[in-house]
Symmetry: C2
Subunit: 444 residues, 2 copies
């Protein structure tokens, strides 16, 4: 170890992935029952057995003992909507009606002074309280909403991907930009924020329904000019949505073909939902290296359908997992995994605990093309991490009494876990302060 | 009001049902924004506007002010397994494998001295902490497990329905009774516990697969001799289970026909799951007045399938809602409702908030034939109730800022709620003590 005062070490049970357990099996994960994670300047400098590493630390290193808790890389959420934290749990509608009745109403409030700032602070509090340290975030159509999000994320030094939504039709007038303004605002945001600190920009045409061909062409120009930016959009969530999109772009081969025609289906494209995919669409995803984003709580809550992960694997398509707040119903990636498990079970597929926890750490990092930076404890990675207590609730503690091994213990965490299991969250090596998850006292 | 010292009054927002909101609409519920519930000797003596009732109370009446919280009748859970609190969240198998690999292993431990007592105490703690005051409970095959459950429930004065499982084949030898011992043990338990205090007995042949025709005939005798006891069993959960049951009872018209042939399909029969029902089975349920028990978290977790509530309505079959612990993944009936909503959404059906909250209170009371005793705040009913804080988590408090009316507020509670929303639970007018739901501190 070098210079003393910047060194910090966390002791606890360490779990991370170096490969995909679906293909690599047991070799994919690393587990240390008494491990030490050494952090310097926000990066991981060493990881190993505590007994072996402790003597190598400088005398003034700060050691935080998190035993017996589990320390994992911070969770990654591949798709959510910042303006929808007050849309969660809105009743009764399927996609198109839900957008018009609830979402577009709330999104209009983002034009108000201070509202975006308040929502961004709330969202980041909630994500960090849930152990999520990176997310791909849709802001509203307003440039200021993305400004507010990046400013808040930058202040907290979180590694976030976000973009201003581009949307110039089939939405209330107050929520429409134009092909020109959508381009110019995105361009300005990219110049100001992409690569500044830990912030990354995603070019964000909401979906083909709300972008005219002219705006899709503008997005295409942005992608050509900024090939290192992500693209995020929606596809194949709902049958009515698909029919409408096809009607608007009759010349496209299919829904995926619409995005393909504008070069929006590429290796940095995060395509939300992918539930009702045609054979050619799967092949197009594979050919372009596009990412299918699975949003289980949202897909169930809106009754959209069941994502076919086994099919994605067979087709060679990368999959990311996401909450889709506010169509989704939980900020917790653990809760999201529990619902993913159910979606797969209904299709005769399954999701072992190691695969599940890989998905929301290294798996999502790979899908986002950020695995050289985050998602694991390999040396040099950014020290974003979550400290978990798998026995945080009485029901979980009781259940864990009979758990026979780590795999079973982790499966309980995946099935019953949520933000209550998060003991601490660290961003670039710093423990982030928070008032905790509860508003009310736990008494009864 | 009569004699002073037994009178207690709870003040808060009161919500209860006097009819089914699916048919009766707005007329089905009663809501008092500032209500008073007056309790004497464990029963509801009066309910109304606080301002009107307060002057009528005796001078020494104890008034508990729960404003601004919501007070509802205690929740009712129509199906769960006491021996499975340490089976919850067991990985990967569908029904038959899950039984053999996990459940039957844990159930054998119930033969150990003290184990049943510990599990019963845990279960009742957890149910009450979740706001559930009545449940229909499967014990293990051991007579002592039902003894332990009834003793613990009697001590707490909770209104519970339970029974010793009858199971004489297709299970490990240590878990088998015989037609004779199953009959005699059930008979003895009925004599000792049915109608004692608030305890009720359910004749409990686990399902046709684990009961020989001789044992089914023994259950039939029990039903004939004790027509006021409930019957609880399983049906049509899983395709492999159905095929196996049909093979074991080839003379039956169908799975329902097996139970019908032994008079086990009657108006007090709680039939767990009912997912893969044939046309004739629905008609048989309607003809006999049997209850279909919908267990959404279990059905999703085990990948069993989607319960068709609209069909049950069309067929005139009563529906109850249940956790099915430990196939189910939450003790909370609120969480169970959120999953019920998702199951219905996937089928193009829906579940408005009032219907959902009706289901777990008066609806389940009607299905269990206990609506003259529990499930509402009508005068003379037993004062089992739950005090709820719909804004108990930060995410819920934030979401509720934009809720426009009671309906929307309740829908948030149904969609995002769980045991964290339970501020207090009362059993027969007494606030039940508990260490609270959390083991770990909420700090982060």
């Amino acid at each position: 170890m070098s210079t003393g005062d910047a060194v910090r070490a966390l002791r606890g049970r360490l779990l991370w992935f170096v490969d995909d357990p679906h293909s690599a099996g047991e070799a994919a994960h690393r587990y240390l029952a008494d491990g030490l994670l050494v952090i310097e300047n926000g990066l991981i400098r060493a990881v190993g057995e505590a007994q072996a590493l402790l003597p190598t630390l400088p005398a003034d290193a700060a050691i935080v003992d998190h035993r017996p808790h589990l320390i994992m890389p911070g969770f990654i959420d591949a798709h959510l909507h910042m303006p929808q934290t007050q849309v969660i749990a809105s009743y009764g509608a399927q996609l198109m009606e839900w957008l018009n009745r609830y979402t577009f109403v709330e999104e209009q409030k983002l034009a108000q002074q201070g509202h975006a700032e308040a929502l961004c602070a709330f969202l980041l509090d909630e994500l960090l309280a849930s152990g999520t340290t990176t997310a791909a975030v849709y802001c509203s159509v307003h440039r200021r909403s993305a400004e507010a999000f990046f400013a808040e994320s930058h202040r907290r030094n979180t590694r976030m991907i976000a973009g201003k939504v581009m949307m110039d039709r089939n939405a209330p007038e107050a929520l429409r930009d134009t092909p020109e303004s959508g381009y110019a605002d995105s361009k300005a945001l990219i110049a100001r924020w992409h690569g500044r600190g830990r912030q990354l920009y995603a070019i964000t045409p909401r979906f083909a329904i709300t972008s005219s061909p002219e705006q899709m062409a503008a997005a295409q120009r942005l992608v050509a000019e900024h090939p290192d930016c992500h693209v995020q959009t929606h596809i194949d969530e709902n049958r009515a949505e698909i029919a409408f999109a096809r009607e608007l772009y009759p010349q496209a081969a299919d829904y995926a073909g619409i995005y393909e025609d504008y070069d929006l289906l590429g290796p940095r494209s995060l395509m939300g939902h992918c539930i009702h995919m045609e054979d050619r669409e799967w092949r197009a995803f594979a050919a372009h290296g596009a990412v299918a984003v699975f949003c289980p709580t949202s897909n169930l809550f809106l009754g959209s359908g069941l994502f076919d992960w086994a099919r994605a694997r067979r087709e060679g398509v990368r999959v990311a997992v996401a909450t889709d707040i506010g169509g989704g119903t939980s900020y917790s990636m653990l809760r999201t995994l529990a619902e993913a498990y159910k979606v797969l079970q209904l299709q005769g597929q399954t999701l072992p605990a190691f695969e599940a926890l890989h998905a929301i750490t290294r798996g999502n990092a790979v899908a986002l093309g950020l695995d050289h930076l985050i998602g694991s404890f390999e040396i040099g990675r950014e020290a974003d991490l979550v400290v978990l207590d798998p026995a945080a609730t009485r029901a979980m503690a009781h259940r864990l009494e009979t758990a026979r091994d780590l795999d079973e213990q982790l499966f309980v965490l995946v099935t019953l876990g949520d933000e209550r299991n998060v003991v601490a969250t660290y961003v670039a090596g710093e423990r982030v302060a928070s008032a905790g998850q509860r508003v009310a006292a736990p008494a009864r």
